[in-house]
Amino acid sequence: MSNTSVAAHTAVTNNRKWAIGYVSVVATIFVLNKFLLTYLNSDVQKFFNSWFSLSSLAEIMIWILMALGLNIIVGYAGLLDLGYVAFWALGGYVAGWLMSPFFSSLQFNFFGHARKGFEFGIHFHVLIVLILGGCFTAIWGVIIGGPTLRLKSDYLALVTLGFGEIIPQFMLNGSNIAGHNLTNGAQGIGGLDEINLFGYVIGTFAMPEKFLMVSILAGGMIFFSIRLRDGRLGRAWLAIREDELAASMMGVPLWRTKFSSYSIGAVSGGVGGVAFAILVGGVYADRFNFVISIIILSMVVLGGMGNVWGVVVGATVLSWINSIGLVQVGDLINNTFGTHVNFPSYQFLIFGLLLVLMMLFRREGFLPEARMRMVMQDEKGDVDKKVSDETKIASN
């Protein structure tokens, strides 16, 4: 008994601790880039801009948001989703539709901040777009998850995979749907509105402010993830992940619980999609492909399924490698040893081997939760023995 209350106590203090750490990291990066960097000497500037450029850091925050969203589906509830990019795309297009001059025949402004000369189109306030983006993907989560979550988990993987292929293809072909241009095809929708937060205007190239914005979203997602996990719903998810049959015997409503995890994951994918569209100032269909889904999945797996901090670390490391690391480290190696290896072309191999080797040798990820380690390392048949060992330790 006393053990649990101690655990609960540390959980609360940890909740406060991470917030302080997170805020200080974000604030440091923001202040450094916004105010200090211009005064530093050019070598330091060059170092930061090539190894830790602000746009890539902002992108890391988006990946964290995405990976945490997928973590709710894969890591918490144990449902394999292979088409998460669909939610990213849908969220992005909601931003493209609702805050750009794209629908040029319409003119609708709802607290939006259209650029001068581009007052046509639909312009919503950015916060409303974020909410609507989440709602829109939630509806799609319901459409996809509703029928398929009743089936075996393998089938969910396939249906989501199919979904992740159909949505981007729709966006690519969407320049002519029965004569209407809905998505502008491969060119995508560019020129999104500037952000007007209660009078404070963030321009297209105001990277530090945009970084701050996506960091707040990512921080919110971290908060939700931690809180959800410890709540009633989160515990039900973990129970389903570990043993569906046992969970249903204990009175966990299987479909409803899985469904809520899928919808919440979908919402965060949509919000992330809107945020990414705002970050790059547009939405482009060719970006959304299967590789993105797999990269997000790798982040979740690499860091440690179910553990928020593991996933955050996984997302940070992998997206940094992807955007800067592979090129920069490759250049460094090429320059030092005089070789001419094209490192970015090894991306497939790196991600593939990473997934395989992780599954073979460290299934629970680099920063696993204790119970995930137990589940993933258990071979069939040893479960009873391990469990009895655990109870022995606990009773001691």
Binding site: V74, L80, L158, Q169, F290, G352, L360, V375
Partner: protein
């Protein structure tokens, strides 16, 4: 399930959702039949032509789908790497037959070479698949289901990378050894290539079906699929049997790979992903784990795709992929067991 729980005396009530589901399925079927009907009335010749093209592709899909269905049947793993295995075999056949042996035009010698390389490609596919199973999947056989699935996705990436390094990122044209002429019946053209596909894939399918249905090894496979422990007690070497299954799956993919390179005429490193998904849809359509179902599913998907791409009144080629996946999703909703399969109860 619920009717049992709620007692026997109560009159069985069909829920509204089930009725709606049934009605909507009829509606979808009706639309599909109407679509095919107006196309047939529009131009019967075109319809027949497209049907033949569809069967051609369908046979290749069937060969790949066999690999999925065999592997899923025995270790319940969706082998995501299988499509990329197929891609590598097509690249292998291109490298050996077209580049190394220089067989680039129709001639008697080249036909013989095609048959020899067919065997080599099948052997290559089988070896590769067995190696992958040995290195990656075997260790994970008792792990939670998510682990081998993610491993398969990772393997698929590794294989794609090998393909990328082998032939580069641009699709490569293959000069086929098959004759380019066409056979005319009543305004419908059948390419000689199509005959070649039938001549090679149909025997391969029959041999594979014979191996699984009639031989001792095949019986061991089916036993292992049902219950590994029990078959181990009966003296079956489970590891060997699973390796054998992977070998057969790889060989089928090899046959499909060389025929794809020869008839479609291009190989590309990202071929495997699309084809793998199409083939998996075929396997699911027929009922995963059912050999004949996979063949039937492959043919049906081939036809549907051909109708979608080729018919003059239809969505057209740019929706090809969406069409296949829409079928997959609809199938999952209406008939998750597949056309020939039965909805399996989960083992407890």
């Amino acid at each position: 399930m619920t009717s049992v729980a709620s007692g026997i005396a109560r009159k069985k009530k069909v829920p509204l959702s089930a009725i709606l589901l049934r009605l909507s399925s009829f509606l979808i079927m009706g639309v599909a039949v109407y679509w095919l009907g107006i196309n047939f009335a529009h131009s019967p010749q075109e319809f027949a032509q497209v049907t033949i093209n569809g069967l051609n592709n369908g046979l290749l899909y069937a060969l790949i789908a066999l690999g999925y269905t065999l592997v899923y049947g025995i270790i319940e793993l969706i082998n995501f790497a299988h499509g990329d295995l197929f891609m590598l075999t097509s690249v292998f056949s291109f490298a050996v037959l077209t580049e190394l042996l220089g067989a680039q035009s129709p001639s008697g010698k080249n036909y013989a070479l095609l048959l020899v390389v067919l065997l080599f490609t099948m052997a290559f596919g089988a070896t590769l698949n067995v190696t992958i199973e040995r290195l990656a999947y075997r260790r994970l056989r008792d792990a939670p289901k998510l682990a081998p699935l993610i491993t398969a996705v990772g393997m698929s990436f590794v294989l794609q990378w090998i393909g990328l390094k082998w032939i580069g990122s641009v699709p490569v044209n293959v000069n086929t050894v098959l004759p380019s002429g066409k056979y005319h019946i009543g305004g419908v053209e059948i390419a000689y290539k199509t005959f070649a596909v039938f001549l090679i894939t149909v025997p391969v399918l029959i041999i594979l079906a014979f191996v699984v249905d009639k031989t001792r090894r095949g019986r061991a496979m089916r036993a292992t699929a049902q219950d590994k422990d029990a078959s181990r007690l009966m003296g079956i070497d489970v590891n060997k049997t699973i390796s054998f299954t992977f070998a057969i799956a790889g060989a089928a993919a090899g046959a499909a790979g060389i025929m794809w390179a020869q008839t479609i005429g291009t190989v590309a490193y990202n071929l495997g992903f699309q084809l793998g998904l199409i083939a998996f849809t075929s396997a699911v359509l027929g009922g995963v784990g059912n050999l004949y179902g996979a063949v039937m599913g492959g043919l049906i998907i081939g036809l549907i795709q051909a109708y979608n791409d080729g018919l003059s009144i239809g969505p057209g080629q740019r929706w090809s992929q969406s069409m296949v996946f829409t079928i997959l999703i609809l199938l999952m909703v209406y008939r998750p067991g597949g056309l020939l399969g039965e909805t399996a109860q989960e083992k407890v």
